[in-house]
């Protein structure tokens, strides 16, 4: 294996500059994705960049907008009571050791059948804060995910999102073959704000139904302005597949994923426990 250079950076600014200046450098966060590639002898990068900057571990829950540093682990999410609505998401990822290591910033880059946290953040309409070169910029998560294969030279600093509209407004379910741990067959997350008993501004995101987490925009439109009743739920479930493109993998075939995605969405919207 070719020797890899390790750049230990004191600050995020230094790490972002290293990523900007060296095109074949890879950022090393929790290790659960990048170290796999290192162990396999991946030769597409020649340097690892890491930083112990504490700002990446910040969790801000006091304002109307939550801010989570990119280095926040799933275990840290589970330890924060204000983030209770995200606990089912964090719990559905890995075993305890992976949750002690893996970070929410890394999850934005996780390929299917991983990336469940990114699906949840997509449903929450999160914003991704990046530093590239010497400037910070903010990108809607949907745009970030669509372009992530080309997002070299920048460091994800944090994600932010508005507090969900209510305790029932954010919903999540993950279908996996191995419980309590396992890669996703289908993951679905939804944010369903209501106004006067009608859904206003629904966001539905699927995981493992494409290379990245994807929005089910037709299903969102099917709910818009309607009460969350059986007719609206059926309309959304029937429209679930539009724009999704699952692939075959060891966990499920693309055909199977298409068969069950609408069923999972129907159960999520109906509030079924299992």
């Amino acid at each position: 294996m070719a020797p890899l250079t390790l750049r230990n950076c004191a600050t995020v600014a230094e790490a972002a500059a290293a990523l900007t200046n060296e095109r074949d450098a890879r950022y090393f966060g929790g290790g659960t994705l990048v170290m796999r590639d290192v162990n396999e002898g991946d030769l597409s990068f020649s340097a690892l960049v890491r930083t112990t900057d504490r700002s990446l571990a910040r969790i801000e829950t006091t304002g109307q907008r939550f801010v989570l540093g990119a280095g926040v682990t799933y275990a840290a999410v589970l330890a924060e009571r204000e983030l209770a609505f995200l606990h089912p998401v964090a719990r559905s990822i890995g075993g305890p050791a992976v949750r002690n290591m893996g970070t929410i910033g890394g999850n934005l880059f996780a390929p299917a059948p991983f990336g469940d946290f990114a699906a949840a953040l997509l449903a929450l309409d999160a914003t991704v804060l990046l530093q590239g070169g010497y400037a910070n910029r903010e990108t809607p998560i949907e745009d970030f995910l669509a372009a992530r294969e080309r997002s070299f030279g920048a460091l994800v600093l944090a994600v932010s999102f508005a507090r969900p509209a209510g305790p029932e407004a954010f919903r999540y379910r993950k279908m996996a073959r191995v419980k309590p741990k396992g890669g996703s067959v289908v993951t679905v997350a939804a944010h369903l704000p209501t106004s006067g008993g009608r859904v206003m501004g629904a966001r539905i995101a699927f995981g493992s139904m494409g290379a990245t987490a994807l929005r089910a925009k037709s299903a969102e439109r099917a709910l818009e302005g309607r009460p969350l009743d059986a007719a609206a739920i059926s309309a959304a479930a029937n429209a679930a597949l539009e724009g999704l493109s699952p692939v075959d993998d060891a966990l499920a075939s693309a055909w199977y994923r298409r068969e069950v995605a609408g069923v999972q969405l129907r159960r999520l919207l109906s509030g079924d426990a299992s």
Partner: protein, 158 residues
């Protein structure tokens, strides 16, 4: 490029030089001669390499050795006290919780991480605690029983 690294290994301070991309499992096994953590998959899928870093379970094959600078690493080697086995080790023997034994070091460390934090776990909590550790022999039941028994023994002796 070799970099210097110092950390606490099973209560003992160690200093070594590692290649920048070396994982902790390789440093422990090949440089410190501690072969208790096992190489299973190198992908985070099996848990055979589980160690505790500052008391929390981590997969040593996915941990950059350089990232444990100044921290405390515990492996299975630290579990027994001289000839005295840890209650978890004794319970694994009593319940026939090891067959081929390859997953056992990781299972024991995952179970220790649980009992250190929660000395009175439910069965569900035990299942959750070892959910990242794969065993292809036992069917898990004997392991779950052993962890619950070790917790009970430990409480009885405390």
């Amino acid at each position: 490029m070799m970099i210097p690294l110092q950390f606490r290994h099973n209560g003992r301070d160690v200093a070594l030089f590692v290649d920048g991309a070396t994982n902790l499992l390789t440093a422990l096994r090949e440089q410190l001669g501690d072969t208790t953590p096992k190489f299973g998959c190198g992908q985070g899928g099996c848990g055979a390499c589980t160690v505790l870093i500052d008391g929390a379970s981590h997969l040593s094959c996915l941990t950059l050795a350089a990232s444990v600078e100044g921290r405390s690493v515990e492996t299975l080697e630290s579990l027994k006290d001289g000839p005295r086995l840890h209650p978890l080790q004794k319970a694994f023997m009593d319940h026939f919780a090891a067959q081929c034994g390859y997953c056992t070091p990781g299972m024991l460390m995952a179970a220790k991480a649980l009992l250190d934090r929660n000395p009175n776990p439910t069965r569900t909590q035990v299942v959750e605690a070892i959910s990242g550790n794969i065993c292809r022999c036992t069917g898990y039941e004997a392991i779950i029983e052993a962890v619950l028994d070790a917790a009970q023994q430990h409480r009885a002796s405390a």
